[in-house]
Amino acid sequence: MTHDDIPTVYEMSVPDRHGIDLPAPDVPLAPLPADGVRADCGLPELSQLDVMRHYLALSQRNFGVDSGFYPLGSCTMKFNPKVDEQIARLAGFAESHPLQAADTVQGNLALMHELQQWLADIGGFAGVSLQPSAGAHGEFTGLLMIRAYHHERGDARRTRILIPDSAHGTNPASTTMAGFTAVELPSDARGNVDLEAVRVACDDTVAGIMMTNPNTLGLFEERIGEVVRLVHEAGGLVYGDGANMNALVGIVRPGDLGVDVMHYNLHKTFATPHGGGGPGSGPLGVSARLKDFLPGPVVERDGGEARYRLSMPAKSIGRVSTFHGNFGMFVRAYAYIRQHGADGLRANSEHAVLNANYLRVKLRDAFKVPFDRTCMHEFVCQGAIEGTGVRALDVSKRLLDYGFHPPTNYFPLIVPEALMIEPTESEAKPTLDAFVAAMLAIAGETRDDPALVKSAPHRTPVGRLDEVKAARELVLVDRAKAAVG
């Protein structure tokens, strides 16, 4: 990675330089309006080579799955097949306009319909909508459906959503946005949600529960059947956070466990690239009683003939995306499922779980694993090493010097100094062994030379950054002056 400071596009800007030519107008010129026209839109002025070198240099200061091992827990940083990128860029897909007549986009609609069917089958659900654009977006949408379901039955008293304390932060945030109150549930000594707490919380004000399974400790909820039964008996519904679905494809279908509504993260389980934070896609699968409430439009197939059309479910909560959701991600996920088939997808989950368990047993002597039982696709250990003052953050930063992306830090909140490690199925044993060697070396350094670890990273383009200064001074735009008119 280059260590030199890279000037911003505004700092490189030179008046009158330009990057691209456009054709001269081939129509008569219309007079511009007398008012409301600006003199200068404030963009920088660069040559195309300036722009290319700039972004290439920036890319060299960035770490992706293509750069190296990226065991970021709960994020499923698996290999993103290159052929999927090529396919999503086929003109027939990429240039198609979302408002074209259904007759002219049968290929797109067929693809969406198949994907709806496949996801329903994989999750054990009666219906799927591809509308939501991300996991959190799916959560919010699913909660709105739960709300609509209760209200339709004249049951407006249900205002509470139960959420285990190990849940992703998006769960309580989505709950608030959907107009519910989040009620936190503790975990028990084996890392499951505390069944007694579920029992006590379940009354006629409970709208539902949000369960992540496997949970964020990477553990399969051993009493999921009883949790679901308690919530259903109280009249509530079960939301499944599908963020950890990469452990379960072909292993168990959440719908078979009694989950009523779940989002899939196509950008995790089905290998659509994370794109530096997005776009993702968060389709929703639902049980029969919620099917009519799905956001729309969804794709339907007419009778026996292979004609596809968009339609709005009968009691739909409405639309949650412009047009039909993140279609470009549907193409990639479709291609991924098509390549793997049922056995291939199951093998992915099996190897994701094997890799996680392999790392768990190799690391647990050096880094304490608080809930040490067979994990699913990820596990949580503690990064602080007693008596040294070295914290999980320090271990993470030192890993950067060894060429690895760190695990997720300080999450879940119920484990102090948490390091959440998710290797995915994409990584081979030599990579895992090299990671183990690096972690054990860092544990050794921590005893011999803790200052080295505490001041890491040493080999990255910048060292630890002053986050307090960033938040206090709030420099959110480039101060380089480019005239604005």
């Binding site: 219309a30 799955v65 945030a173 279908r253 470009g328 938040a471």
Partner: protein, 450 residues
């Protein structure tokens, strides 16, 4: 095709290390009666066969030559310089996650910081987030922000000339906070002065689109003053290409500016992924949703960038966060940044002018046809790259004839959202439409209406 790299030997060694003999034993915690379901999926395929199959599927869409497409209404065919794809195809960028480890994410962080900077200059606003899902969800977040700023206010004045899908989506988003009500968008007129009359002490925000859904520039003089006198916020939805030419929302007093950034180097892709642009006055920065990138220094004083004000966000604030957003549209923001840096000051102006002149040429020519009229509801109002044409026959019939006989993709049938606009077509013309294709449209419309 599987991407699992394990050899049999490695698998055996790893299972032995874990103390198990079979992979199935890893799943003892899963209830046995539902373990290992048979999935009904097609048999796997190789990369070679997959590519063929997907090409065939793409070919089932009727090929759309962008030069003869006049469909817009929220998604547009614009020229995309080749450099955009070259940049966003860098694996270091597109296979990375959100920039929570800034030391190895400086490249993306700086690119997003520059994106924020260019969006602020372009919109005339003071702060921009690092992207939202799409234009409609960014608007819904802006509306939620206005309601959070003024908890006692529960009314949103919404122009009927805002994209109908955006209006529908706001209604979905407000289902959770049912106290809020929406007024204005079912009125007979989209007149901005009529909207002003709906402002009162309960109003949290007034929302307009400019250029509006019908392509026309709204009379914004004095609008922000009226909104602010009522103690409300002015939210403006805009078209980023139009800002190459027209005065931006920040210059006429918008408190929040929202746009779908798809025209900035992102393919229509049947509606997504697109890019939600959300920019604001600095006073609202702590209530803004989504990631923000800030400049700072490292321990040696070297300049660097970090995600900042994380205390607004769900992973810190949980139930009290300003929004639940986590995944955003970062690679699309990178595409837009590359587009804006390449087009630059003069290039974007040039694109905007080409749209303007070509749309005006098309409107003038269509207006000459017998039985057609242009922007019948507001003929004097300026327009940008879209306009409304009233037709002497139903739009669906005309579009079918355009497609069947001439291979032309006609405009959007406005009657499907609003019966008052029966026989009205919204026509989009951009720099990708040539004079020849516009002339072909005009001839075909003349024939189709006969």
């Amino acid at each position: 095709m599987s991407y699992v790299p394990h050899t049999d030997r490695e698998r055996t060694e790893m299972l032995a290390a874990v103390g198990l003999s079979r992979r199935e034993d890893l799943f003892a915690a899963v209830p046995e009666q539902v373990r290992f379901p048979a999935l009904d999926l097609p048999a796997p395929t190789s990369e070679l066969d997959l590519a063929r199959e997907m090409q065939a599927l793409a070919a089932r869409n009727r090929p759309c030559d962008v030069a003869v497409s006049f469909l817009g209404a929220g998604a547009y065919h614009h020229f995309r310089p080749a450099i955009v794809d070259a940049v966003i195809s860098r694996g270091e960028f597109y296979t990375s996650y959100t920039q929570y480890q800034p030391e190895v994410s400086q490249g993306f962080l700086q690119a997003l910081f520059e994106y924020q900077s260019m969006i602020c200059r372009l919109t005339g606003m003071e702060v921009s987030n690092a992207s939202h899902y799409d234009g409609a969800t960014a608007l819904a977040e802006a509306v939620l922000l206005s309601l959070n700023v003024a908890p006692k206010r529960n009314k949103v004045v919404l122009s009927r000339a805002v994209n109908p899908q955006y209006r529908a989506l706001i209604r979905t988003y407000l289902r959770g906070t049912h106290a809020a009500m929406i007024v204005g968008d079912e009125d007979d007129t989209a007149d901005v002065d009529r909207l002003k009359a709906l402002l009162d002490q309960d109003t949290a925000a007034l929302v307009i689109q400019n250029p509006n859904f019908f392509g026309q520039c709204e009379p914004v003089e004095g609008l922000a003053e009226a909104v602010h006198r009522a103690g409300a916020l002015l939210i403006v939805v805009t078209d980023p290409i139009s800002l190459g030419l027209f005065r931006p929302p920040g210059h006429y007093g918008a408190d929040l500016t929202v746009a779908d950034g798809q025209p900035l180097g992102i393919p229509p892709s049947f509606g997504g992924p697109h890019l939600g642009i959300l920019a604001a006055r600095k006073t609202h920065v702590r209530r803004l949703s989504g990631h923000l990138v800030g400049e700072t220094v490292d321990a040696n004083g070297r300049r660097g960038y970090v995600l900042t004000l994380a205390t607004r966000e769900q992973h810190i604030r949980r139930a009290k966060a300003t929004s639940n957003i986590c995944t955003n549209s970062a690679i699309c923001a990178l595409a837009a940044a590359t587009y804006l840096a390449t087009m630059g000051k003069r290039g974007l102006r040039h694109v905007a002018e080409l749209c303007y002149h070509k749309a005006h040429y098309a409107a003038a020519e269509i207006g000459k046809l017998k039985g057609f009229s242009i922007n019948p509801h507001a003929p004097a109002q300026p327009f940008f790259k879209e306009f409304v044409a009233r037709m002497p026959a139903p739009v669906s019939e005309i579009n079918q004839r355009l497609l069947d006989r001439h291979g032309i993709v006609g405009g959007y049938d406005l009657g499907q959202d609003d019966p008052r606009l029966k026989d009205h077509m919204l026509i989009a013309v951009t720099e990708v439409n040539t004079r020849a294709s516009i002339d072909a449209l005009v001839r075909a419309l003349g024939e189709a209406a006969r």
